[in-house]
């Protein structure tokens, strides 16, 4: 089960839940599972946030694989200058 | 007001051009004569990107009226290298990675040449004060100073 962590500013969309265990093999499936629990959240999780999967920050993941022990963190996007 | 005809020697070549009396030398170099190697960073004489030599003296071409060049000699960045060969200052800038974006580089090369023409063996402090009129935002000046020191050594005929 992948462990998913929401930053404080997204917890407004998860009824205060910070941490979830989700069964999924790709980021797309992970988001679909989370959407089932919190309808509407996928509009933010896809395209509006960055994601760290097992420590690697990715902008716009979708097909990226998620492993059975993966840790997935949602983050504010960072582009830099 | 009509344009004024000006005759100037630039990089050893006799040139003539027409310009408005209020046009700066920098504007004429770039827009009339197509010598865009000299850059505009501020147009108020604070950044040195427009450095040229007027009768061998280092000046900001943005602070000079083009009409003032009549009958005089200018050296711009385009005149620093000779034919196929880069000037040692240019070679050392490349070797020492003394440029990152490169916009200030023409000004620094001209300013460095003006320094070494006058003082072939400057101390680090002398180099820094002489080049204080040239702004660089990318390099922090370290490698520029080292390049000029190395170029000075080469020009003095000493082994690097």
């Amino acid at each position: 089960m992948a462990r998913v962590f929401f930053p404080d500013h997204l917890m407004q969309l998860t009824a205060g839940v910070r941490e979830l265990e989700v069964h999924a093999e790709s980021f797309r499936d992970l988001v679909a599972e989370i959407e089932r629990l919190y309808p509407g959240i996928s509009k933010v999780l896809i395209g509006k946030v960055a994601v760290a999967i097992d420590g690697d920050i990715i902008h716009d993941p979708f097909l990226d694989p998620v492993g059975p022990n993966s840790e997935v963190y949602f983050l504010h996007r960072i582009e830099g200058g | 007001m009509g344009k004024t005809r000006v005759e100037t020697k630039i990089n050893g070549e006799q040139m003539e051009f027409l310009c408005e009396p209020q046009q700066s030398m920098l504007d004429v170099l770039r827009d009339t004569l197509g010598l865009t190697g000299t850059k505009e960073g501020c147009a108020t004489g604070d950044c040195g990107a427009c450095s040229v030599m007027l009768d061998g003296r280092l000046i900001c071409s943005c602070l000079m009226l083009a009409v003032e060049s009549n009958g005089r000699q200018l050296t711009t960045i385009e005149g620093i290298s000779r034919g196929e060969t880069l000037h040692p200052i240019q070679q050392k800038f490349l070797q020492h990675a003394a440029l990152q974006c490169g916009i200030c580089t023409p000004g620094f090369v001209v300013a460095a040449k003006a320094l070494l023409d006058e003082n072939p063996n400057p101390t680090e402090e002398e180099i820094r004060y002489h080049l204080a009129g040239n702004l660089c935002r990318c390099t922090g000046y370290d490698k520029i100073i080292r390049a000029v020191q190395d170029a000075a050594q080469t020009l003095r005929g000493e082994a690097s």
Partner: protein, 755 residues
Amino acid sequence: MSEARDYKVIGTRVVRPDGVDKVTGRANFGADFSLPGMLYGKVLRSPHAHARIKKIDTDAAAKIEGVYAIVTGADFPKVGHEEITGGEGAGDFADLATNVMARDKVVYHGHAVAAVAAKTSAIADAALAAIKVDYEQLAPVMDLDTAMADNATLIDERLFTAGLPEKPTKPSNVAAYMEFKRGDIAQGFAQADVVVEGTYRTPTVHQGYIEPHACVASINQGGQATIWCCTQGHFDVRSMTSKVLGMNVADIRVIPSEIGGGFGGKTTIYLEPVAMVLSKKSGRPVKMTMTRDEVFRASGPASATKCTIKIGAKKDGTFTAMSAWLAYEAGGYKGSSMAPGAMCVFAPYVVPHFLIQGYDVLVNKPKVAAYRAPGAPQSMYACESLIDDLARQLKIDPIDLRLKNAVSAGSQAAYGPKFNAVGFKECLEAAKKHPNYTKKLGPNEGRGLAAGFWFNAGMQSSAEVHINENGTVTVVEGSPDIGGSRASMALMAAEELGVPYERVRVVVADTENAGYNNVTGGSRVTFATGMAVIQAAGDIIAQCKQRAAATWGIEADLVDWKDGEAIPKPGVNADVKPLTLAQIAANSGRTGGPLLGRASLNARGAGPGFSINMADVRVDPETGKVDVLRFTAIQDAGKAIHPAYVEGQMQGGAVQGIGWALNEEYIYDSKGVMQNAGFLDYRMPVASDLPMIDTQIIEVPNPSHPYGVRGVGEVPIVAPLAAVANAVRAATGIRIPDLPLSPPRVLAALEAAKA
């Protein structure tokens, strides 16, 4: 994944391929480009910091001989609210469009209200002077305290603070609130033996690139346009311009010139859409450049901030709790770098309990843009200054205090995920051993130390590798070269292909002949575009193996590639000579066609970067002037592809940070007009201000990159602010929390302390 290996060319200090044109003045920067029939465009800018536009009368201007087009906000389409997903606080397309050309309101002195295209600059200036604008002036809001006060004058009456726990009922100048929490902050402070607190302010500063914004736009009567401009991201210029003007991206070709510095300030658009509309109206190409004055007043500086930090620690130095209250100025439109500032502030440390509260605040100043590690210098300046005071209070060496709490592989980053391998401890250990750490200091001299951090970005890059008929290599990529990246791309291609560096050429292509690339910035080019180049080279190698196999009549999987040649794998029975890249290329027409390798990716696994900076200063007690005597930058680069350019980033960022600490600030009068919009009084460091900048590159490889590369461009600006401030504290015995530590401020503090 990266493994220790002997590199043939990686790590050597080659001369960059675009160098000769840059030292001879041949390289073309943004303002160096011209087209026949070109007009000159100029912008009319608001004389007021905050006002409603009642009427614009362009009749007199239009009558001037040589004026070909005049535009105002009415000539630009209305753009709907849509978030610019360009990264931290990048903002909203509606705001971007209005920033480019004001509609009903101006929100900073210098805001564009009209533009003209004329035969000469002088005629354009005369036309601007003839445009009459009626303004209804409003009270300017010029600082955080004023903007955040109850009953503050509102800059956008329809703006309600986003992110508050309860939906607000009244509009506000606070555009957004964000919180980051871990553990129980009250408990964390209760566990502490010592609690320290400080409030720090940093001013509005500018990236200070020497090249002003410049472009030439040419649109034909069929709506097909070309823009030549200096930019860090030509694909972003294309997408942003298309949004602002309601155009199809396919109709806009953006050709990037060489760029004379950006540092984040050239990742957005200002002149380009205006030049386009002028070109459309006039039917001619239009050139626009900013004066230095306009660059300061009307591009995108970095946020002024107010940061309050509180740290709780045990007697032995273990941090128990940290809190941060961070307010960042966004300028006239929302979208500061508050979020990354909040994510970075405690990033180097293991902190069991923290609370970070951030505010994005509107003020009547130009809309901020990114500036090298956006947000981090300001918040980390505050935290690193306070840690310095804590070390003094606990009587613990500042390196040891940081080592005690330093993150390493497996630590939970303050912004969420666990770190993979990172080099913070290695930087600290290197600082401890560095000879500069123990050099003797004289009277009025002091040494300060601080840590720096930046995430570093991945994102999208594309690259192609073409093999020419003589076996030389052309790499085609789309990342404008700000700091020598062409050299690094050539080194990586040469290393992968096993050919000498001199056989490789690198081209930065435009939006029509490069594959899509995200911006040059975010410390991402060596990492992400480099990865695309490595993969494209790998594609070539795969093709070469196939061509060799076909030539030899064996299976492709029996072929190896070594040192630029195809050879049969060891043990394969084939009586053949190796085939070089040149030979395969010469024969490529017969074996399947030209050799063309390609790769495109959304790079993941960018390695976070850490640094430690040490500054030695002397403070003149009579004038308050601070001289930097010695500066040491230590940074983890993962793997330095070209060490001289890595050092260059470290030195350049250090000096920008020194300027931010000591002299740089936007000075405003009571009407909200900047008083020092030029290089004379916006005082950036010059060569005579500085010593050599000593550098030490640490290499803790990034496990997610084939060579271990970490981005290096942004980290260098973060630590110098506190390193210098801590040195001033050590030299004077006084903590001066507000930047810059310019002579008047330092002198006032010295005199107040004497009293």
